[in-house]
């Protein structure tokens, strides 16, 4: 095995790219769950975003237009989930699973004519001097705008949930929807907005896969990313900072094991392939079990249907 072929700077840079789709999807799902809604359709919304973003980017030649449309597509798909679960009071688990299946099928249909095409390249940050610095340059100053946006969103969501009035109201709806309703907050409307935010984030995450990470369209290309995003939200105890940690851990191990495979590690490929899932879950479980009860408490109304009475 030749470890010298692994370059630390490019490893870190590529782990950030590999983690961003999951980070975006998990961040969106975290906001949805904070509002008390369990949307298991993350995988479906991601793949829908991936195909929407890819198609629009190829047709217009603009990756940013692709991202915008991917967010729109993810939000529209999530709105379907929202209407079904919030107005028609369908079961959230079943509807979310259905959304995933629906998204996978729909994306395969929409993407049929685009298989094997190449996405238009997205501009990368290129700051004179800074981007040329050894190590720091490739790690911090030469990514695309979406990656920086994803990190800004982590900080923004964490701050908003903690300090903004809107964030407090959102948390209150997820904590006790009956009490929030009694205080006069529009539970269903707030949840719908959270669901659409989650859908848009998942869509962005999917588009990051098809436009930056891979960058081409392959049927079923999310390959479980949406599910790991869901798991990360739970084991991150619904905290934005830990969602970032979990997503980067997963992405990091994914990239590392690919490098190890390329370097000819003497481990079976199946072990390496599954290692990101296993290690991420184990680390997050250990972290969350060591904390006190309040720190890891799920939103108390998570997954419970709300119906205003009287």
């Amino acid at each position: 095995m030749d470890l010298s072929s692994i370059n630390a700077a490019s490893l870190i840079a590529s782990l950030m790219v590999a983690s961003t789709p999951i980070l975006l999807a998990a961040l969106g799902e975290m906001v949805v769950e904070k509002a008390g809604v369990l949307n298991l359709g993350v995988e479906g919304m991601m793949i829908a975003g991936a195909v929407c973003g890819f198609v629009i980017a190829v047709e217009t030649g603009s990756p940013l237009a692709g991202f915008a449309f991917a967010a729109f597509g993810g939000a529209v798909l999530s709105l379907l989930f929202g209407v079904l679960t919030q107005y028609l009071l369908s079961n959230q688990v079943a509807t979310g699973l259905g959304l995933t299946l629906f998204g996978l099928g729909l994306s395969a249909l929409l993407g049929q004519g685009y298989v094997g095409q190449k996405a238009p390249p997205i501009a990368r940050l290129d700051i004179p001097v800074l981007s040329d610095l050894p190590f720091v340059g490739p790690v911090l100053f030469s990514h695309d705008v979406m990656l920086y946006l994803s990190l800004a969103m982590v900080a923004g969501v964490a701050w908003w949930l903690k300090n903004a009035r809107g964030g407090l109201i959102l948390r209150s709806v997820g904590e006790n929807h009956d009490a929030a309703h009694a205080l006069g907050y529009k539970v269903v409307r707030i949840r719908l907005m959270a669901i659409m935010f989650g859908g848009a984030c998942a869509g962005l995450g999917g588009a990051y896969l098809s436009l930056v990470r891979v960058p081409t369209w392959v049927e079923g290309m999310t390959a479980g990313a949406g599910w790991i995003a869901l798991a990360i939200v739970v084991f991150a105890s619904w905290k934005a900072g830990r969602v970032l940690l979990g997503a980067y851990l997963f992405g990091g191990i994914t990239v590392l094991q690919l490098n190890l495979q390329a370097a000819g590690a003497k481990l079976p490929v199946v072990v390496l392939d599954s290692s990101p899932f296993v290690i991420t879950i184990v680390v997050l479980v250990v972290m969350s079990s060591a904390r006190n009860r309040a720190a890891l408490a799920a939103p108390a109304s998570l997954g419970r249907p709300f119906h205003a009475s009287g």
């Binding site: 407090l168 209150s172 904590e175 009956d178 309040a294 108390a300």
Partner: protein, 507 residues
Amino acid sequence: MTALLKIEGLTKAYPGVVANDDVSFEIAPGQVHALLGENGAGKSTLVKMIYGLVKPNSGTMTLRGQPFEPPEPRAARADGVAMVFQHFSLFDALSVAENIALGMENPPPMAELAQRISDVSTEYGLPLSPDMTVGDLSAGERQRVEIIRCLLQNPKLLIMDEPTSVLTPQEVQILFATLRQLSAEGTAILYISHKLEEIRSLCDQATVLRLGKVVGRCDPRQKSAAELAEMMVGSELRPPSRTPAEPGAPKLQVTNLSLPAPSAFGTALRDISFTVHAGEVLGIGGVAGNGQDELLSALSGEAATSGATVRLNGQPISTLGPNARRALAVLAAPEERLGHAAAPNMSLIENALLTGATRQNLTRNGFIDWAATRRFAEQIITRFDVRTPGPGNAARALSGGNLQKFVIGREVLQTPEVLVVNQPTWGVDASAAAAIRQSLLDLAHNGAALVVISQDLDELMEISDRFAALNEGRLSAPRPAQGLSIEEIGLMMGGAHGMEVAHHGTA
């Protein structure tokens, strides 16, 4: 003095039931106005209309001479109407300050809000730390959060829906001092309760509701509790009668019973000892959440304990499960009606089977004897006046009070030697509650040993021979109920949890 709030001809109908029928009354500034009535009399619907949660079908409300039709609570709050809910509308995972901010229209920044919370809480003698997580607070402290949330908005009308049901007598005194102080400052208070003594000591006007209609108005200070009860119920109330009897041999003995908390939110039982004799009723009081559910499960057999901590007629039964204890005539009726005492989606027949199978011989060779089960269910329904179209109805379809009569009746009719009940008359109207208490007393008269766990002190004083209180999983030494003063009971229940009387003006 002109009325602060005037209500005329307010009507609200739901499919199949008229919750409020042509209700009219008015409240003057600074008045403490009682809204009196049994469960289901329409009190809650009425105040929900004032608070903008429910829209009336017809009728008008006038606030300070202006038409008042709040489309949502926000609007009601903006007009100076605040409400403390019966079931606290708090968020366990959020801090005190965050909870209060959620109930305000334009909350100041958190640091400033925390300061104002401290100021108001000391002014009204309701100490509260803004940074505490609400989930960690006692019931009395949670109520303070709600009250302070209201006070910060300088309400002109404060609505209180059954505020004292979860408080110790000392906490009630402090709450009343705060309310009197508010009333002296000109805030009108609309006080909902069915506890007559409280209303007589606090309120200066009362409107009595029965089945959605106003059936009387009075000055509660001029009436006796019995007169108020008659206005409320519409007929004369007969208190349960009891014939004093010498207690028999020890029936149920509990020695040094300790039980770890069943869940993170449960209470551990610590070193509980008591004896109940044949023909005796032991009343156990205490604020909810101090080990009532856990004690019941240790006595019913849901939670097995080791050794000889629980004995029946001297024989240890600690390790036996519920069915084995039922076979020995140790029965229990838990507090939570839907989900614990009864399976919500199953019919009354099936629910009768669930606890009655052992003692009523409702199964043969592992098969259910449906005819006998139906007869047993029908017997419960007739004997305990359960209002339902038939025994085939699902338990969830019954009103709370009717289901309560069913689950108590189901155990009483199995001729227990030991019966443990938790909150036997919770949510039951006054006449049915009297019937349930009478049936419990009759059981004791026939030689059964009864443990009655309740948060209704009046009820416990009425039926128990001896009284003990649960406080944080510990049971006080049982004392004869006769002659026990409310102060002594309060102290047995753990006092006022560090509350102090309002020192507004004197501080």
